[in-house]
């Protein structure tokens, strides 16, 4: 008998997070086999009946080699659930892949974020849960409901408990993140500064200008993601040049691709903090992680029960 209960399915992208979410919900992960054939095509076997169930598929955007594989895994799992008569299919994508390719910034540039949104819908997705979208406008690319959760409550809690909050100033490493940082600064009743960067090519920054006074302060650099870490490292150098006492970086998505590990090792950052929306495989002793699985689990629970999710935007679940 179908019970319309929660079924948690996980792809291969982030097994630990899936396990944490399942643990927070007190539910097991459903049996599912996601493999690759020797010809590199993805193969999905769903190990139990999901007819008329409320299905949640946890898959994040990660992997320098496998990001497209993981995306295809997600699509094929969704499609498999759809053909297996699931009642509702929700894709839980903590880090939305291709989120930065969200505009036609030059002629004939692809808007891949929109394409991914359409692909998810085509596969048969009914709902999307994600976290700290690079641009919240991406929600508008979908015709289905998108819950964009915030890591902010978790980050806030971390800052209050694990940083020298009394002597801190929040810093946004670029103008785009100013809003996010200002919101945090308001809640913590702190000052904030801003770094203006001039970008010439993707992943390369040329010049940085600091707006605000950071002398003698503990600077908390806040951003939504750390990829190659060029921005963070340069920003921390700039801040230290301007008399900052120490610099901590706090990001939501720790992608850390390319030479990030090397850059962080050589950097003057005293700590780099990220959430576990993507698996972090980094051999850096200044790294600290925040677990956001309670927020994701609570969102799943509330969605399943038809309760409001907006409480999670401002509050941390216990």
């Amino acid at each position: 008998m179908a019970t319309n209960s929660i079924k948690l399915l996980a792809g291969n992208s982030h097994p630990e997070l899936a396990k944490n979410i399942a643990h927070n919900l007190g539910l097991p992960l459903s049996n599912i086999g996601v493999y690759q054939y020797s010809n590199k095509e993805t193969s999905v076997t769903i190990g139990e009946s999901i007819r008329d169930e409320d299905v949640y598929i946890i898959q994040t955007g990660t992997g320098e080699q496998e990001i497209n594989d993981f995306l295809m895994e997600l699509l094929i799992i969704i499609h498999a659930c759809r053909t297996a008569s699931a009642r509702r299919i929700t894709a839980v994508i903590p880090n939305f892949p291709y989120a930065r390719q969200d505009k036609k910034d030059k002629s004939r540039a692809p808007i891949t974020a929109k394409l991914v949104a359409q692909m998810l819908e085509t596969a048969g997705c009914n709902h999307v849960i994600t976290m700290d979208l690079h641009a919240s406008q991406i929600q508008g690319f979908f015709h289905i409901p998108v819950d964009n959760l915030y890591a902010e409550p978790s980050v806030l809690k971390y800052m209050q408990h694990k940083t020298d909050i009394g002597n801190a100033i929040l810093v946004s490493p670029d103008a785009g993140g100013a809003k996010r940082v200002a919101s945090l600064a308001d809640k913590l009743d702190l000052n904030f500064a801003l770094i203006h960067k001039e970008r010439q090519k993707a992943n390369e920054i040329s010049r940085m200008v600091l707006v605000g006074d950071v002398t003698g302060k503990t600077c908390l650099l806040i951003d939504d993601m750390a990829d190659t870490c060029g921005t963070l490292v340069k920003a921390s150098d700039t801040l230290l040049e301007h008399g900052a006492k120490e610099v901590l970086a706090i990001v939501t998505h720790g992608i850390f691709s390319g030479s990030a590990e090397q850059k962080l090792k050589n950097s003057k950052l005293s700590r780099i903090v990220c959430t576990n929306t993507v698996p972090v495989d980094l051999d850096v002793n200044i790294l600290d992680q925040i677990d956001v699985s309670p927020t994701l689990a609570e969102a799943i629970r509330r969605l399943h029960n038809g309760e409001s999710v907006s409480y999670l935007f401002t509050h941390m679940t216990i």
Partner: protein, 468 residues
């Protein structure tokens, strides 16, 4: 050729260059690459506004990367106001949908590269010479069937029942970095939910034995994704299932390799009139029989079957289909591939049999198939044919995927010559097997002609029969 733009995906630029040469145009400029976080990046370097755009990408190599690249390219062209975007996929990825999970037959398995393969080791498997022989599954020779020997022993027990993914951990073809995606057969601990149970078999069946496992069929999804990305038209070649065309809401032109294959047989196989065309499985029988019909050659077929142990030769009448096809009085049943499934109840015993329908003694054989992936089917077929007295075995293949250790396997098989088209890059094949054992047929002119005709709004059906 006005207003035509041809883009090459990164999978097979050589083929695109040849197609463009045939069309007498230049390949259009597009920059393909990846961002440092692995996301596919493309940049179209010339205007496509109001143009007729063709994006050529074969379903080989890193399939998902290439497929995403194709989708992004199509989408970018569409948003840049191309009047029509045609996806040209010489080999259509995900077109073959294995439905039996992970058995040796249904799903492509990967196995360790070996020095020796028992499937064709001549002294290895004793071959009965009688016309109708059924080996008992428990006979010692059965354990030497290549299937059983290529799987690790635990999986041998269950291979017929359900997936038993096991990965030789040292095997990561092409990629040196360790992937988080388990291969088939996969490692035991790679899966979060497999921590408790090391065996996927017990895992899947423990809680719900009444639930029948099935493998997700991605075909419809792939078709819909192409449409979603903005493709207006699809050109492909020798689709594994012709029903696949029905998954699309847009026109699909399925080109045939048959004219090229035929002409190769006629011009390059000496005494082809005496050859036998062989289909390595029942699914390809129609395709092979057509070629045999046109060239007036005799036809034989290999039939694989999983049946209960009480094996009888099928009635002769059912086998003598196709008038004029020489069929021996009694079918030859060769139990090459005997396996005993010991899982489940004790009387649940099955054997895999392979039988040859038709006579190949002292003949040259031409195996015709649409694709070769792991090459299990092909090498096994070749062995059966040689065992049945074939003097020479040619293999004529449209799509040579050759994944896993297929090239090793073919290298050590009894196949005398393998003829394959360049729908997928074949440089590796030539390198592995040597230029004298491999012949690569060029299909670029068929694609070029199809593109030319579609661009001009002409019929392309003549290509189905006469090539170009």
């Amino acid at each position: 050729m006005n207003n035509i733009v041809v883009f090459a995906g990164s999978s097979h630029v050589d083929l695109v260059d040849k197609i463009c040469e045939n069309l007498g145009i230049e390949r259009s400029q597009v920059k393909l690459g990846k961002f440092s976080n692995g996301e596919t990046s493309i940049s179209i370097e010339e205007s496509v506004r109001e143009k007729d755009v063709y994006v050529i990408q074969s379903g080989c190599g890193h399939v998902n990367d290439n497929f995403m690249e194709l989708l992004i390219l199509i989408n970018a062209c569409k948003t840049a106001d191309a009047s029509r975007v045609t996806a040209v996929m010489p080999y259509f990825s995900y077109s073959r949908q294995p439905d039996i999970p992970y058995t040796a037959k249904g799903a492509p398995l990967i196995s360790k590269a070996k020095e020796k393969y028992t499937f064709d080791s001549h002294p290895g498997t004793p071959v009965p010479q009688s016309m109708l022989t059924v080996e008992k599954p428990t006979s010692p020779s059965s354990t030497k069937s290549h299937n059983a020997s290529n799987l690790d022993s635990p999986s041998k027990q269950h291979a017929l029942q359900s997936p038993t993914p096991l990965r030789p951990s040292e095997l990561r073809p092409t990629s040196s970095t360790s992937s988080r995606i388990p291969m088939i057969p996969n490692g035991k601990a790679e899966h979060p939910e497999q921590d408790q149970s090391s065996n996927a078999d017990t895992l899947f069946n423990a809680s719900n034995s009444s639930y029948k496992l099935w493998v997700a069929q991605a075909g419809t999804l792939i078709a819909n994704l192409l449409t979603t990305a903005g493709a207006d038209h699809v050109i492909t070649m020798d689709l594994h299932d012709s029903q696949f065309q029905g998954f699309f809401d847009i026109p699909v032109d399925n080109l045939y390799c048959k004219p090229i294959t035929q002409s190769y047989i006629q011009h390059h196989i000496p005494n082809y009139q005496d050859c036998v065309v062989v289909s390595p499985d029942a699914g390809g029988a129609k395709r092979a029989a057509k070629i045999a019909d046109v060239l007036e050659l005799s036809f034989a077929m290999i039939h694989k079957e999983r049946r209960s142990q009480l094996l009888k030769g099928p009635p002769g009448a059912t086998l003598t289909s196709g008038g004029g096809v020489p069929v021996s009085a009694k079918p030859l049943i060769e139990s090459l591939d005997l396996k005993q499934s010991s899982s489940g109840s004790g009387n649940n015993k099955y054997v895999n049999t392979t039988m040859l329908v038709g006579d190949v003694r002292n003949k040259e054989c031409i195996i015709v198939d649409d694709l070769v992936d792991t090459s299990y089917t092909l090498t096994r077929a070749a062995k059966l044919l040689k065992d049945q007295g074939a003097t020479k075995v040619y293999a004529l293949i449209t799509h040579g995927i050759f994944s896993g250790d297929a090239l090793n396997r073919i290298g050590q098989s009894v196949i005398d010559k393998i003829i394959v088209t360049n729908s997928i890059p074949q440089n590796e094949t030539i390198k592995a097997l040597g230029a004298e054992r491999v012949e690569v047929l060029d299909v670029s002119n068929i694609f070029a002609e199809a593109i030319r005709r579609i661009h001009n709004g002409e019929s392309i059906s003549i290509l189905f029969e006469h090539g170009w």
